[in-house]
Symmetry: C2
């Protein structure tokens, strides 16, 4: 039995209106010039301008950077760092989904750290240490999916190869999360659905991943229960703040739980984003049933625990497919533009992904090919 | 829906031998003079001297304070602060059960804070703020019960009245926990049993307590499962490191979960310690079945969830009584020296305790009297 390490996330203030606590949190630390960072989707929404205005109304000098989009690439981070310095900012308020949160966290890293962003890639031989000041940052999630607000890593793609790289440091964990369900009520149904299944997948793959981590296991099962009880409600009643809040919580729980590890579904999804630029949650949703059938050979008991947590009976993969259908997500990769010609490249990237070594069943190249084929 | 706050604990290094990581953790922070603080029970054990010796062998100058005992009182804290200063210490290694951990955490508080310890009592009108330096401290639990190593409070009694007072600050959370099951193998069976049931009670009362906190709920259910699967093994095979480790984990999980709240059992136990100086875990164990029967009127579903987590069927209170019997704990207060003459004082203290307002069913003075009578 080796010595293992457990970490837990940060202070979360949760509830409708929580975003209004940002100004006081900044002022109470003697800071005055926050940069509010978001993505191109959130920037034009009324609530975003309201956040900036409320900071200024509280006597702060808020700047804005809103050029994050897609699966974010390194050049977006560099642009954010430049705007941070141009504004003479002293803090960050990061508002958005996984892309904005991931970019914001590494903008915070790079404003006082030298070198190239990818010099800080996790486990990079000869990489640079995260040992300088990181400005105070507040994470404000606007989707219930990635859970990046409670995570210690960012996933940023190479501008040219589109391969996702993981920047990891405990210091990337935002010290304050404002988890405000009101910010998620305007999400399009398709985004609510695909990000919600992403949140589910974090809980699912964490629960299945190898290693002794009963805290993560407990959080994951409860996260699965929240998604099972609330995701469909968020689609059918977009303004239901109770269901929206519970999905936000399930999202933070998934990212808390996956400090234990993820698995094969995430390796497949990372390849699909790199090769076909698929939305991460959509890729996860389509791949997860096949991946769970693959895991059933070694993890039957744990799959049964998750079925119980979901309040379902029978096969966990079948329950996943029913959920996808009920929330309007496609079941097949072909519906998302993936073709057999992509297979070789998909397999190549998936095999080299960092997530599947935690999967309870080892995954070979042939296994990945079979999984992608099953999902086509 | 109000805005609520969630906090999670700290870095835990878990596994046999983890205590050996203390020296490096101190040295890597540029510190050199740890005070090793423990209780009178642990001090004469071989592993305690080994910890002190290993710190000195690593080039540190370790001092020792080992005068903690019983339900700890304020004068023990003052004595610890004096020894800290006499040693010119710059850090603390707190080794022991709940009493030592609670004393160590507030020794850390009082070495640089002015005034009286009880000026820092939670919610005290006109109390003093926790705003000065707190030295680096490492918590090393030697019982699987209190979980104080991951808690943000200490319970210290008044020397004269024996009333327990709660000192609370997020800054009382030790930044590093070394969770080493080897340190628990020598515990007497009665201590293993009563502390183990205390750990169980934290998970149980947290799961039942009012409020929306699904992370705590998930952790609590998994903690209950670990106790159900491992406590009896620790009694029958005291050297079973796997079971010992899982009980240590369940203990940390209980204290993590009870940031959500505790309940009626703890109010009863606090009164029993104050009036009859009962061991906390023993008081908890005897009171919990009656308290769970009391809660059944409003929390039937949650009691069923816990029965399921315990791998049992039927009535949760009955399962608790079976567990008590299997691990050799008494079922009645009379076996622990409590008499009907104590009732008035017990009820008076329990009603004023801070724990029961979180209980899912309100508890009146008459209810408390009935609960104590049922357990006599």
């Amino acid at each position: 039995m080796a010595i293992v390490q457990y970490n837990y996330p940060t202070i979360i203030k949760f509830g409708p209106g929580a975003v209004a606590l940002a100004a006081d949190a900044i002022k109470s630390r003697g800071l005055s010039r926050p940069l509010v960072l978001t993505d191109t989707g959130v920037a034009p929404l009324p609530f975003f301008q309201k956040i900036v205005d409320s900071l200024n109304a509280a006597g702060l000098m808020a700047g804005a950077f809103s050029s994050v989009y897609g699966n974010p690439v390194k050049s977006q981070v560099s642009a954010g760092v430049k705007v941070y310095h141009d504004h003479h900012a002293d803090s960050l308020v990061i508002v958005g989904g996984g892309a904005a949160l991931d970019v914001g966290k590494v903008v915070a890293l790079m404003v006082h750290h030298p070198g190239d962003l990818f010099d800080y890639e996790d486990d990079k031989p000869g990489g640079l240490p995260v040992d300088r000041e990181i400005p105070f940052m507040i994470a404000v999630p606007t989707t219930a999916g990635t859970g990046s607000e409670v995570g210690r890593s960012s996933v940023i793609s190479d501008d040219v190869t589109h391969i996702k790289r993981i920047i990891f440091s405990p210091r990337l964990l935002p010290p304050l999360v404002l988890s405000d369900p009101e910010l998620t009520v305007g999400l399009p149904a398709s985004v609510t659905a695909s990000t919600g299944v992403d949140a589910l997948s974090h809980n699912v793959e964490a629960y299945l991943s190898k290693g002794f981590h009963p805290l993560a296991d407990g959080i994951a099962l409860q996260g699965i229960k929240l998604v099972a009880q609330n995701l469909e409600t968020c689609i059918k009643e977009p303004g239901n703040l109770d269901a929206r809040g519970k999905m936000l919580m399930a999202s933070s729980m998934g990212a808390t739980a996956f400090q234990k590890g993820l698995g094969v579904t995430h390796s497949c999804a990372h390849a699909l984003s790199a090769v076909c630029d698929l939305h991460h949650g959509l890729a996860i949703s389509i791949m997860m049933p096949a991946c769970m059938r693959f895991n059933a050979a070694v993890a039957g008991d744990r799959l049964a625990d998750m079925t119980h947590a979901a309040g379902a009976t029978g096969d966990f993969a079948a329950w996943l497919e029913e959920l996808q259908t009920r929330v309007g997500l496609p079941l097949k990769l072909s519906a998302a533009g993936v073709t057999p010609e992509h297979l070789d490249k998909l397999v190549e990237i998936a095999v080299n992904d960092v997530c599947h070594p935690c999967n309870p069943r080892p995954v070979s190249a042939a296994d990945f090919r079979a999984l992608f084929e099953a999902a086509l």
